[in-house]
Assembly symmetry: C2
Homo-oligomer: 120 residues x 2
DNA sequence: TTGATATTACGAAACACTTCGTACATTTGA
DNA sequence: TCAAATGTACGAAGTGTTTCGTAATATCAA
């Protein structure tokens, strides 16, 4: 299951806020040029797809993500390594490190993690 | 410019073989359930988009990728870090390392690269 | 109460992607 | 030579995504 770009934006909000009405999601996104019913429709479709669940006991339905963020990240990652990097994780890692200016602290954290991986 | 999945498959062939006729690309892909004209049409659209160029001096046109593989990889990577990892490269790197079984040699290579990054 | 506001449901339009059929042109070989 | 094979061009159908308008319903406030 691979959420679309718009669906990802909505999921980000739900992951951050736990549970939300459509209105809350729509306002968090605050896309100037997109109407409320668009967000509503997207979330209804996400419900059909099983990406979210909702509590419809009150008039304004409350939505919650039905997949975890980590789950989703690794699923995107796997697909990307496969289709863009020929399965080479290390190539992806090196490019990622080289291309963005990661802070010294982050680099150190990654190195430590790497050392524990190398020991096992 | 973000190639679609089908376009990526075609680009992979072009990157590997440098220059190809539609027929060659189609056969390299050897998708059982997709006709030749589909590949042709896709490549014509890619031409319009500027993803490929072609030499049409002979009857069977010869296509060449017009973007580099590295360019494309980093463009996917940047988008992914942005939309899936909230801009956190280190989180992506850690997940990538943790999730796939990278060989000891690759891990060592990454650590060395990391150390040079830390020094600069 | 009743009119304004907020909410959901839903159909449909606009767009992009993938697929194929068909028309037409060129090459090949029997 | 001329029929078969090969190649390009292109329209159109099918599907998925994003967008919105409108209708129906519920809530709220004066």
């Amino acid at each position: 299951m691979k959420p679309t770009t718009s669906e990802m934006e909505i999921l980000q909000v739900l992951w951050e806020k736990k549970s939300c009405s459509v209105r809350e999601v729509h306002e968090s996104l605050n896309k100037k040029d997109v109407g409320y019913t668009t967000t509503l429709k997207l979330m209804q479709i996400m419900l059909e797809k099983g990406l979210v669940v909702r509590d419809s006991s009150s008039r304004s339905h409350i939505y919650t993500a039905n997949i975890t963020e980590e789950q989703t990240q690794t699923s995107f990652l796997d697909k990307m390594i496969d289709t863009v990097y020929h399965g080479s994780t290390s190539r992806l890692v090196m490019q990622a490190l080289g291309h963005s200016n990661t802070s010294k602290e982050e680099l150190a954290a990654i190195r430590e993690y790497l050392e524990t991986l190398e020991k096992s």
